[in-house]
Structures are given as C-alpha cells and as structure tokens.
Amino acid sequence: MIIFDVVDRSGSVRTVEVPEEINLNLMEVLKASEYPILATCGGMALCATCQVEVSQGIEKLPSPTDVELDMLDQLPKATSQSRLACQIKINENLNGAIFTIASE
C-alpha cells in the first residue's frame, strides 16, 4: 500500500491508502476519495483546479514537467510547494507525503 495524508480545505487531515500499481494520478485518487476538487480539464494541466500544496515529501516527487511549470507559474497563489495533483503519478514516492488541497 501507498500511504499519504491529505489535508482538506477545512483543515482536517485524513490518511489515504492506495494499492500499489494502481496506475492513477493523485487528482484521480482525490476525486475517487470524494474530495471536492473540480478537475475540470480532466488531467491536462489546464485548469489548475486540482492544485495542492506538498507540505511534506516534495523532494521525493519527480520534478514538474514544462506543461505543469507553465501552469503553476501563472497561478496567483502558487508557492514553491505547489503542484497540480493531476500531474503526480501515484507510486511509492508518495509514501509519507502530506498534500493540502488549495482553496478554490
């Protein structure tokens, strides 16, 4: 199992467990776990409605691609900890990470 924590918009923390080899991205897992993220564009790094702050474990994640960086660069509230959940593949790199869902 891959285990990480998710902080929702109200601040409450929940541990999410995902089977290995699930072949999903973090946005898809958050949606399936019924977090209220819109993910309007369906994972093309176009809408940024799945923005998360990685408060722990960002160094273990693969660097963002140009497409993701271009989008992050435009977002008024993005920080150096910001990522788009749709661009983060679920794998063992996420173990122990903490993701905070950004405000709408």
């Binding site: 209220p36 819109l38 309007t40 564009c41 369906g42 093309m44 176009l46 809408c47 940024a48 409605t49 960086l69 271009d70 989008m71 660069d73 435009q74 977002l75 008024p76 509230k77 993005a78 405000s103």
Partner: protein, 334 residues
C-alpha cells in the same frame, strides 16, 4: 436578430457535429463561441496533437478533425457568431428562446444546445480583499484597448507570456509600468524575458521580482497597490490601473444562472435524449454529467445524434419523425 431552429453554444467538435445531425432532420443551426475560431479546445489548446480514439481514424490531428467536421457540416450552411460570450437567455411569448451575447448579438431559436466543453475560459483572479469592488474602477483583466492606458500609471501582475508582452508594449504608451512577478525568473519566451530585463535596466519599467500583490487601496477609484516581497517588506505603488494576468481558467460562466440543474460545474441531463431540466434546452459533450459519463469526443457525437432526434419535436411539433440512414437517403443539402 438572427433567427434559427437550433442555437448551439460552443463550436467545438461536438457542437459542430450537432449541425450535421440536426441538418439530416432539416433543422438549421447557428453556433456561438467565445473563441474567435471554431474547434474549441482542439483549435485553441492542442491543434497539433494526435487523437487516437475517433472511430474510423487510427490517428487524426486535432486541427484536422476540426477541418473535417467543418467540411462535413457545410451542406447544412451553419451560421456563426464567434468571439462573443453568451450572456443572457430569455424566453419569448411564442415560447422561443433568445440568446444575447456579450457584444449584444441576439439569436432567436426554438431549441438551445449547450455544447460548451470545459466552459468559458475566464481570467484567473488573485485572492485580494476588495478585488471585486475595484473591478472596473482600476482593476482590469484584459487589455482590449491599450489607448485607455495612455499616460497612466499601471501595475501588471503575472509572469506568463501575456504579462511580459503587455508590459513591453505598454511601456510605450503608459506613463509608468510596474511588473510584479512571484519568482525571480520568467518562463515566457526568452526573447520577451530579455526585453523586460533590458527595459528594467534602462529605467523604463519598474520590475518587482519575488513579489506578490498584497492589497488594494482607493476610494471609488483605485489609488495604490501594496506589493509584498519574499522578506515580507511592503512597498506601496501609486497606480491608476492594475492588470492581473494570471492566465485563464475554465468556468461555466453565465450559463450557471439559467436555472439548469448543475452538479460540480457540469449540467445534469437525462440520458434518454440529453435534455436538461428546462424543456427545449439540451446539454451535450464535456459540459454535461450523468451516471457513467465519459468525457470523450466520441461520446459527445453520440449525444448529439440523440439530442437531434429529440429536438425535432420542438422545431416541427406537427410532424412525425422518420429515421433514415445516410446510406439510403444521402445528405440533402439546404
């Protein structure tokens, strides 16, 4: 006033194919799109990308699919209002709909088909107190008429290509331009980046890097903006305008106010015919939702076909619909 049978909102692939399905049933269509060209996302976002799941096309570039659809619907002589956003929907006494656009164009139709895809791409707004109060009083999200900034003081916020390009362009027109960017480097075109640094060095552009908008001040009109840097130091800048350029984000827009049942930014439909809760209004393609919904172009095509069969009763209430294959009946142009 444009008068048509079906007003299609959204000229993406699904909106375009609706013209074909409606045309087979002798219904005329007018399409409205906020973008200046047809094709929706396919033209605007990924024209050169190959698509692999269009039946009959092992691989087709997005822009080629749009061109093929354009040719396919030509016999049915669709008309277009492009570059205008749909704002208002009203019902006439005879039971028809009137759609009014941002530029005041009016389209009267018997049926409305919303094929709006992800929605309208609207400017992304920074989180600032009293931002809405200052909209139209100094805060503008689009540079439509650069002349309005002549001899004015402006602050541009953002680090993308449009922020860089406008900052460069407006230094020629405005009295003073300040460019505020969160990072210390730009990801925009290297050429533009170089120009911005050059203008800053020459003292023609006030460049504030590692900085963010903090607060707006003014009484009636915007007077100044506070900029905060990474060290937390606040810098007040007198300005007439602030132009936040943080890209575009898809929103449902004014359609959300039309009394349709909405679930998470999508319009709920009946899968029998993709009708909404308002008789005469249909929603097809990525903008609708129903149990098992898949956001695929091919699903949108299917939805368009069923929608057209159902819309027939609003356009020709006294006629019986008889289904005919194109292989039997051909395509009878208008």
């Amino acid at each position: 006033m444009i008068v048509t049978d079906i007003c299609i909102i959204g000229a993406g692939p699904v909106g375009l194919f609706s013209v074909f399905e409606a045309g087979l049933l002798k219904m005329r269509c007018h399409l409205v799109d906020v973008l200046p060209q047809i094709g929706g996302q396919l033209s605007e976002i990924y024209p050169k990308k190959p698509i692999y799941d269009i039946p009959g096309f092992p691989e087709v570039k997005a822009e080629e699919l749009v061109e093929n659809l354009r040719q396919q619907i030509l016999p049915f002589k669709p008309t277009f209002t492009l570059g205008e956003r749909v704002e208002r929907l009203t019902k006439t006494e005879e039971g028809d709909f009137t759609v009014t656009t941002s530029d005041g164009s009016e389209i009267k139709s018997k049926v409305i088909v919303i094929a709006g895809g992800l929605g309208c791409f609207e400017p992304r707004k920074p989180e600032l107190e009293r931002l809405e109060y200052f909209e139209g009083k100094g805060v503008v999200y689009m540079v439509k008429d650069p002349e309005r900034f002549r001899n004015k003081k402006l602050v541009i916020a953002g680090g993308g290509d449009s922020a860089l390009d406008w900052a460069i362009y407006l230094t020629e027109i405005a009295e003073q331009v300040t460019l505020v960017h969160r990072n210390e480097s730009f990801r925009g075109a290297p050429d533009s980046t170089e120009k911005v640094f050059h203008l800053a060095k020459a003292g023609r552009l006030n460049l504030l890097l590692n900085a963010n908008l903090h607060s707006l001040e003014g009484n009636g009109l915007l007077r100044s903006v506070d900029i905060i840097n990474k060290q937390g130091v606040v810098n007040k800048i007198e300005t007439d305008y602030i132009i936040p350029l943080f890209g575009l984000s898809p929103k449902l827009g004014p359609i959300a106010q039309w009394g349709l049942n909405i679930d998470k930014n999508a319009i709920e439909v009946n899968t029998l015919d993709y009708s909404t809760n308002v008789p005469g209004i249909y929603a097809i393609g990525d903008i609708n939702t129903y149990p098992g919904k898949l956001k695929l172009i091919l699903c949108g095509f299917h939805e368009a076909a069923l929608m057209a069969q159902s819309a027939f009763k609003f356009v020709y209430p006294n006629q019986k619909l008889s289904f005919k294959y194109t292989t039997v009946n051909g395509v009878n142009a208008f």
